[in-house]
Symmetry: C2
């Protein structure tokens, strides 16, 4: 699998954005890590903003595909929720650093901010719909939809930070354990 210079630059930029934040990372930082002069980066990318936009929107489209796919499946609402959680864990494992930009760095998007927010809202609304259906089907208790959506999605959004310190874990085990946690809590008796 060949990687273009452009892809190399974006990968390194994402790593630096993830570590220090977009605003605190300079094109000179990126150039040094890539091994070229700052001016040369511009033969491969349009601007610093261009890197951020592509990184974030690429990940956002993975989430969109997942929710659309899950909504069309012929399984119970609760099974759909479980599939969505599995998908999101997979995305986090496969694109850990890019995923880490989603919660904090999207605020630095300039042209694409509105589009990002739209896509994020669609995902959240899909999640709320599944939760509502699962309650109606009596597969889960009658939860507060808004608060539960926040609670479950915030754990999934920040999973990257836990995973980046625990990469040795078996993804299958992570999925089982985290689903149990999100769906059954700590099992208060």
């Amino acid at each position: 699998m060949e990687t273009t210079k452009r892809e190399q630059i974006i990968k390194i930029a994402v790593k630096l954005f993830s570590k220090r934040g977009y605003a605190a990372t300079s094109m000179r930082d990126i150039a040094k890590e890539v091994g070229m002069e700052p001016a040369s980066l511009y033969n491969h990318i349009k601007s610093k903003q261009d890197i951020l936009r592509h990184s974030i929107l690429d990940i956002a489209s993975l989430y969109t595909s997942s929710i659309q796919n899950v909504l069309n499946m012929k399984i119970s609402p609760l099974a759909k929720l479980e599939q969505l959680i599995s998908d999101q864990i997979s995305i986090t494992i496969e694109h850990t650093e890019a995923v880490s930009l989603i919660p904090s760095e999207w605020v630095h998007l300039e042209g694409a901010k509105a589009e990002f927010i739209k896509v994020r809202n669609e995902y959240e609304n899909g999640f709320k719909q599944l939760l509502t259906e699962a309650v109606e089907a009596k597969e889960i208790r009658s939860v507060d939809i808004e608060l539960t959506t926040f609670s479950v999605l915030s754990t999934l959004r920040y999973l990257y930070s836990w995973y980046s310190r625990n990469k040795e874990i078996d993804p299958a085990i992570l999925k089982v354990e985290l689903k149990k946690n999100l769906l059954e809590g700590v099992g208060r008796r």
Copy 2:
């Protein structure tokens, strides 16, 4: 309750850091919002870094007080966990913007980074200890301590983002509902 100019400046700076991030907020941005010339800020604060350090360490000390207090209470491990969750919700409600700096902006601390990490680790270790004790007392099921700590604390850490959009909620109801969520999940049947 009189607020000094210094407190006013810090409050406004925290609001801006919270919205755009530390690195993307300039002293000129802060000065404009405060209503003075940039140079005049330095009669009240030592440096931009000084503002960040005080904001973050002040909140961190609230978390430290909470965990120390809870660990010394003469109640069951599960009751301690519930008290810790309540405290953290209270801190988030009372200091929403400053709390929002904790997950993302601490990376920009310069002199105090090691101290912050130490304090954060103490809090996490206290939480893990309570979780372990609750399992041993059979008050909760035998959870994965590391993953559950991450899962519960990530929801609590990012509660500020949900709360800032839902400020009209009754804090008492928020505590009951969120505790239920974290401790019983969605009640999968």
